[in-house]
């Protein structure tokens, strides 16, 4: 099995992200591997352990995205590639998908490509589906369980999380899969893994290396702003007994006419 896993570098989920002077800032908060992508790496490693083969982590981003790739290496990925190019600064989702698809094709002969469900910065949640579409492969998104994978027949069977429950789908490889948290807790990087990752030099591919001369973003972001602050006056409900407090609270909630 040749497995590719796509990861992104994002501000930590605990970061206080704000716009200051028209620019997005997250203060001293660290940049980390997108938390959803850790589940994708875990799934990729489990499939490799079950069926043999290799796992290659790729990321598109600036120089600092190397750290996300090092995390993936430390978890156990065999190889990592950074796709970085000044021309990608304004890439929108479909441009990103075309670049990632080109990288996957350059790597060649991948059986499976894993993604996390979405990146916690842009929250678009479309990249896995778009990469699958560019490649012309089945895209199995929001997968909560890989029920079976048979490399010999080239068939994967998964459970997808949908609003109504779970959909059980079978597809022919190669395929793109995005995973949700139910897939299983990601492992911690091992000490040996961290040492190996720190010594690894991660190759950088430019657009030219992918045979692309430019990308053509069509989505523009004219403005980014802090959400309007809500003036909330908190009313603390007190009483002599839990029963009295509960009854007062219920009165107050009913008066808001939201039930």
């Amino acid at each position: 099995m040749k497995i590719v896993v796509c990861v992104k570098q994002v501000p930590d989920s605990a970061a206080r992200v704000v716009v200051e002077n028209g620019r997005v800032t997250w203060g001293e908060a660290p940049l980390v591997i997108n938390p959803w992508d850790e589940y994708a790496v875990e799934t990729a490693l489990q499939q490799k352990e079950a069926h043999g083969g290799e796992v290659i982590a790729i990321s598109m981003g600036g120089e600092s995205a190397q750290e996300a790739l090092k995390h993936a290496l430390a978890m156990g990925c065999g190889e990592a590639i950074l796709i970085s190019d000044a021309l990608l600064a304004d890439a929108d989702s479909q441009a990103t998908a075309r670049v990632l698809a080109a990288a996957i094709q350059k790597i060649g002969e991948a059986d499976l490509v894993f993604f996390g469900r979405q990146a916690i910065d842009g929250d678009l949640g479309v990249t896995a589906a778009q990469v699958g579409r560019v490649l012309g492969w089945p895209a199995l998104t929001l997968v909560s369980k890989i029920a079976s994978l048979d490399p010999a027949s080239g068939v994967i069977s998964v459970e997808r999380s949908i609003e109504e429950g779970r959909q059980i789908v079978e597809a022919r490889l190669p395929a793109v899969v995005s995973v949700v948290k139910d897939i299983g807790e990601p492992r911690y990087p091992s000490f040996m893994g961290i040492r190996k990752a720190s010594r690894t030099t991660i190759p950088v591919w430019s657009l030219a290396d992918l045979g692309l001369s430019s990308v053509e973003p069509v989505v523009r972001w004219p403005e980014i702003l802090n959400p309007p602050t809500r003036e909330i006056k908190t009313e603390i409900i007190t009483g002599d007994s839990p029963q009295e407090i509960a009854e007062r609270l219920v009165e107050k909630i009913l008066a808001e006419k939201v039930l």
């Binding site: 492969w137 609003e163 789908v169 989505v219 009313e235 219920v250």
Partner: protein, 347 residues
């Protein structure tokens, strides 16, 4: 002359998702500014009936197909069909509800139609003949204004954000049947079946949510069965707590939520998690019990209309967002709260 605004009506098992009608409502507003009406697209089981229903919601035109290749939703045949129709008629705007299906279909159609996708949008306005959309990023910590310069502009609308138009059964029309774009042999995936959610009301669709945090495991009045170690006893206590919380949820017709701490501790399955790495929700009423309100939980529920916080710690950050707060032990309050709601709501 075909309509400039198209709306994909997402459905499951012959019933339209409520978000589809909200998307149709958003489409009607845009069409009012762009001229023309709204075209509805409906595929799958009972597609013709749902297409007729779309006329009640003021669609001016409806395309449908209930071909056997579209019986179960699969992205390949659905995308191929939408893309073919859009290439033939060149709509300006293509709207989807932000469901699991709607989001991925929008994403894939954007590739086929060589355009951009604006997902999970909470507001739409027209500027210079172009749609300017607002979408939350960083789980709503920021808002981003976005435009798509190519056509069609593909947009998914966040559920429970745009008002659903009032249906009028006297409005009607004749849906137009369309042929599928792919034959079964060209489709590389197959739906084997479904398992139903056991979670009751789904979080994303809920008007009311009651959520439990780590504090749910701290009920001192419960005695765990003999033979459990500390960890097992803790989880047992938490699960008993969620059962009680589920009772309150039942009385309120609410969905059951949880903090990441509660999910990570193994108290409740992940599908209940509210927050930046769980579900982002926006109910009319959000009742948080034993949840301190870490920044990543706040990101998932900050736009709830009325927030109620019950927590032992008077300094818990959740109180800063709450309309009503109770500083105290959730376990002593919970049974009375359920009882008081039951009495007042007549359930």
């Amino acid at each position: 002359m075909s309509n400039k605004v198209w709306v994909y009506i997402d459905q499951f098992g012959g019933t339209a998702h409520q978000g589809s009608w909200e998307a149709l409502g958003a489409g009607l507003t845009l069409a009012g500014q762009m001229g023309g009406g709204v075209t509805a697209l409906v595929f799958g089981p009972q597609a013709r009936n749902i297409a007729e229903e779309a006329f009640h919601y003021s669609a001016a035109e409806a395309f449908y197909s209930d071909d056997s290749t579209l019986e179960d939703y699969r992205p390949e045949p659905y995308t191929a069909l939408i893309a073919r129709l859009a290439k033939e008629s060149r709509p300006e705007v293509l709207l989807f509800p932000t469901t699991a299906r709607g989001r991925e279909l929008a994403a894939m159609c954007a590739i086929d139609l060589n355009t951009g996708v604006l997902a999970d949008v909470i507001a739409l306005e027209m500027t210079d003949g172009q749609v300017l959309a607002t979408r939350p990023v960083y789980a709503g910590k920021l808002l981003s204004k976005v435009v798509c310069q190519a056509r069609p502009q593909i947009i998914t609308t966040r559920n429970r954000t745009f008002p659903k138009p009032a249906p009028d059964p006297t409005r009607s029309g004749i849906p137009k049947q369309v042929e599928p774009a792919l034959g079964e042999a060209e489709i590389r995936s197959k739906v084997i079946g479904y398992t139903k959610s056991t979670g009751g009301v789904s979080l994303g669709d809920a008007a009311v949510i009651v959520s439990g945090g780590r504090g749910i495991a701290n009920n001192p009045t419960l005695t765990p069965p003999a033979g459990m170690d500390d960890k097992q006893a803790e989880i047992w206590r938490a699960q008993e707590g969620f059962k009680q919380l589920g009772e309150l949820a039942r009385v309120l017709g609410a969905a059951l939520g949880a903090s990441r701490a509660a999910v990570d501790a193994g108290y409740i399955p992940y599908e209940h998690q509210v927050g930046q790495t769980g579900k982002v929700v926006s109910p009319d009423l959000y009742i948080a019990l034993g949840i301190s309100g870490a920044i990543q939980h706040q990101a998932g529920m900050r736009t709830s209309k009325v927030i109620v916080a019950i927590n032992k710690d008077p300094d818990a950050p959740i109180f800063k967002m709450a309309r009503f707060g109770v500083v105290g032990d959730m376990h002593s309050l919970l049974p009375y709260l359920t009882e008081a709601f039951r009495k007042r709501l007549g359930k």
